[in-house]
């Protein structure tokens, strides 16, 4: 007997059909996962039947006997408060900021009836989802908890009223890589223990393949493939599914053949970055402590670590776009001064690409102006036709045609925007790129294509690359060497193959485990 059954569902927003022909069955104690790129309609599919999106759903949507497509207010109230629990993507914002954890748990418990739990019972609920110091947490406000802790609270609240169906919309996407496995394992355990029917939504096929019984692949509002997860992963039928599986970097895939490296280009020694503590407190925060690394010509070096490990700060200090408290940075044995004192020729050498492509492009500028900006500043001697030649060349290098020159940056997709950001970075002819989580915010298919593009550019221009990421599997597709950072200190460094094969530091082991998912 299935708990939740969707037959021939379609979803409309403002008269536009965004989702069509969706069939989903979820059984008690089983997990059905919906996979798709952003915009594929997967979140709409799981939230619209409960009236949590602006859309309206038609077709047949049966939740334990209630027909949600034609439910009245009382039935909808019942469906939300009794039968279903929700876990959302953003644990940072999904909890009410001015209510304590205890109050929100109490509310979640009483949604199915006017029962009140004692403090001990509430604390026990938090312990069951793996939160330490549970009693103390009850009086805390959500912002005092970390992202992972908040997601545990969300899960505790979602199952507090003993629902039959749990809907988890990208429950781990916003979390640190090393936490994702733990949260998925928690969901697995609760599902089995309580016999919960689980509907899981994710853009990342690798994150659900070991945690779901059935898989539904969506693309552009339609289900293009569905069936048992094992069958789809081992034997995908549709081309889109095959590409989706291939695009996700895995540590089990054969190591790529990387270009030959030359002499040492850049050497950073004893890099230290201190930040003042916020507020009135005295002292400094040591974001990066005595980190040393070198990069050769044509070599890609990965800087990996969890969030807050100092990997971005180190990358920015090296690239000359962030603060540097002490230490030396040499370029071909010549000392590079502090960022503001670098000459135009020095600034040209290293160019950055950031994580959020849309946020890192000026929304009011056209693509042509965005890409040309470094050239205008760094090579003012060029004539206008020379500049336009370089613009066309740079766009061509990143796989964009000349028709993009007049596009406004807000009209671009995430992948297109990241290509524009890369074109902007390479147009002035740099020797080295610093890529800060350049593929992390992108869908796997798009991110995979960007990794491919970077590998091509690396070969064609003999570019050196510093690749900052939390995902070792992505880094392995591009990088010769790896530097692992933890709490600002370099804890491990070596050839990529060796470190992946035989990790020494516990952080490295954790990150490798997270990359296996």
């Amino acid at each position: 007997m299935s708990v939740y059954e969707i037959r021939d569902m379609a979803i409309q927003i403002d008269g536009k059909r965004l989702v069509e022909d969706v069939n989903i069955t979820v059984e008690p104690g089983k997990c059905t996962a919906i996979i798709g790129a952003s915009g594929s309609g997967k979140s709409l599919t799981c939230l619209t039947p409960f009236g949590l999106t602006p859309g309206t759903a038609s077709g047949s949507i049966k939740l334990d006997g209630i027909e949600l497509a034609s439910a009245n207010a009382r039935e909808m109230h019942l469906a939300r408060s009794r039968y279903t629990g929700f876990v959302f993507q953003q644990p940072l914002t999904a909890l009410t900021p001015h209510l304590t954890i205890g109050k929100q748990l109490q509310e979640a418990t009483s949604q199915a009836g006017p029962q009140r739990l004692s403090r001990q019972e509430l604390a026990l609920m938090l312990e069951r989802v793996g939160l330490s110091r549970a009693d103390e947490r009850l009086d805390q406000f959500p912002h005092r908890l970390s992202g992972g802790e908040r997601q545990r609270v969300m899960i505790a609240a979602a199952i507090a009223h003993q629902p039959k169906l749990l809907i988890a919309d990208e429950p781990t996407s916003a979390l640190d890589a090393s936490l994702r496995g733990e949260i998925m394992a928690l969901l697995d355990g609760l599902r089995v223990e309580h016999g919960l029917a689980t509907l899981l939504v994710s853009h990342d096929i690798a994150s659900v393949e070991n945690h779901s019984d059935d898989l539904i692949v969506m693309d552009q509002g339609r289900v293009i493939e569905s069936g048992p997860t094992v069958d789809i992963i081992t034997n995908p039928q549709r081309d889109y599914t095959k590409r989706l599986i291939a695009a996700t970097p895995r540590l089990t895939e054969p190591a790529p053949v990387l270009p030959v490296v030359g002499d040492i280009l850049m050497e950073a020694e004893d890099t230290t970055v201190l930040f003042p503590r916020p507020g009135w407190r005295q002292g400094k925060i040591e974001a990066v402590a005595d980190a040393s690394l070198s990069v050769r010509e044509g070599e890609a070096v990965a800087i990996v670590g969890g969030s807050g490990s100092g990997k971005s700060t180190l990358g920015r200090a090296v690239a000359g776009i962030g603060p540097l408290t002490s230490g030396t940075i040499k370029w071909q044995a010549e000392l590079l001064p502090e960022r503001r004192e670098r000459s135009l020729a020095m600034r040209k050498l290293i160019q950055p690409v950031f994580q959020d492509p849309v946020a890192s492009l000026n929304p009011r500028w056209k693509v042509g102006d965005i890409v040309l900006e470094p050239l205008r500043n760094l090579s003012p001697e060029l004539s206008s036709p020379e500049r336009n030649n370089k613009l066309a060349q740079a766009l061509d290098d990143v796989g964009l045609g000349p028709e993009y020159i007049d596009r406004v940056s807000t009209s671009l997709s995430g992948g297109q925007a990241q290509r524009v950001a890369i074109a902007r970075a390479i147009i002035a002819g740099p020797k080295m790129l610093v890529l800060d989580e350049a593929t992390s915010a992108l869908d796997p298919l798009v991110g995979g294509a960007i990794l491919q593009l970077l590998a091509e550019l690396q070969r064609a221009h003999r570019l050196s690359i510093i690749f900052i990421t939390h995902d070792i599997a992505s880094a392995r597709r591009l990088c010769h060497r790896i530097v692992v950072l933890d709490a600002g200190h370099v804890v491990e460094m070596g050839a990529m193959a060796e470190v992946v094969e035989n990790p020494k530091a516990s952080v490295t082991k954790l990150l490798i485990e997270a990359s296996k998912r």
Binding site: A79, R80, R82, F88
Partner: protein, 297 residues
């Protein structure tokens, strides 16, 4: 932490600005003989260098001595303030309460019916209320309720509390309009946020969602408006007290300024400034209650 220096700067600035204005406290229609003038000046220390006078004033103020009034010769400034302050505080306090009550409930109702007629009507009324100055609404109220319909006393403090109604309403109207707009805008932002979706997913009613999960964070802009609004209510009270003939602080403030009664004006300014600073501190405390995240910033 910055309250004391701020207060000191305000006092000194007012002290010197007032002395820049021509005339003095003893310039009557009939000029006094020069000897009398000089004697009076000496008696009140006005013949000393300006810096010394400022220093003397501040050092007395620290001991709680606001000095004598130069025009109401038999009274000290403290005595005059003690007469006017209770009336002004009652007026201002009630006006703030009324403004918050009308503004927040209006904003809530409008947000609950966003885009509908009720919403548009309330927002239009709020704009009008904000735009109308008290010297227009005050006399208009007095004309309607006092003179034509004879429901409420037009002037003075009279018996009971009915004399408070019109001044309080006149004072509260502009503030309530602004509060309604801020509440409505705050709710529009907050009701789109993720935690509201979480609350909705729990099957809570829209009313519960609005009051329990939405209202408090939505009132943050109202709290930041409260400090300056308190200032507006206190200084705005000058007009209202004049219109309704109430013996509040405002009257002494205006007359003191016209008569060049230096200690009286300085005393009232000090009091106003202290109250405004106090209100701003209070608003900061309210922030922390409305959104606990701000306590850690």
């Amino acid at each position: 932490m910055t309250a004391i220096p701020t207060l000191l700067v305000i006092i000194l600035a007012s002290f010197f600005l007032m002395r820049l204005a021509p005339g003095g406290p003893f310039d009557g229609e009939r000029p006094l003989p020069p000897e009398t003038q000089a004697a009076l000046q000496a008696a009140y220390g006005l013949d000393k260098p300006l810096w010394e006078q400022a220093w003397l004033y501040v050092s007395r103020l620290v001991q709680g001595d606001f000095g004598p009034s130069l025009v109401y010769r038999d009274f000290t400034v403290s005595e005059l303030v003690a007469q006017g302050l209770p009336i002004s505080l009652t007026l201002g306090g009630l006006a703030i309460l009324l403004a918050l009550l009308m503004g927040i409930s209006g904003g809530l109702y409008a947000a609950a019916r966003a885009g509908k007629t009720a919403d548009k009507t309330i927002m239009t009324l709020a704009t009008i209320a904000t735009a109308l100055p008290t010297f227009v609404t005050g006399p208009a109220l007095a004309l309607c309720f006092g003179l034509w319909w004879g429901l409420l006393p037009v002037s003075g403090t009279g018996e009971g509390w009915s004399w408070l109604i019109m001044p309080v309403v006149a004072l509260a109207l502009p503030v309530s309009g602004a509060v309604a707009k801020l509440t409505r805008a705050g709710l529009a932002t907050v009701l789109k946020q993720d935690h509201i979706r979480t609350a909705r997913a729990r099957g809570l009613s829209e009313t519960t969602i609005m009051f329990k999960h939405g209202l408090r964070p939505a009132l943050v802009p109202v709290a930041s408006y409260l400090g300056p609004a308190a200032a507006g209510l206190l200084t705005g009270a000058v007009v209202v007290e004049t219109v309704f003939g109430l013996p509040g602080l405002g009257r002494y403030f205006v007359q003191g300024a016209l008569n060049r009664d230096y200690p009286l004006v300085l005393g009232v300014v000090t009091l106003y400034a202290a109250l405004i600073i106090l209100f701003n501190l209070f608003a900061d405390l309210i922030y922390g209650w409305l959104d606990p995240r701000m306590r850690d910033e």
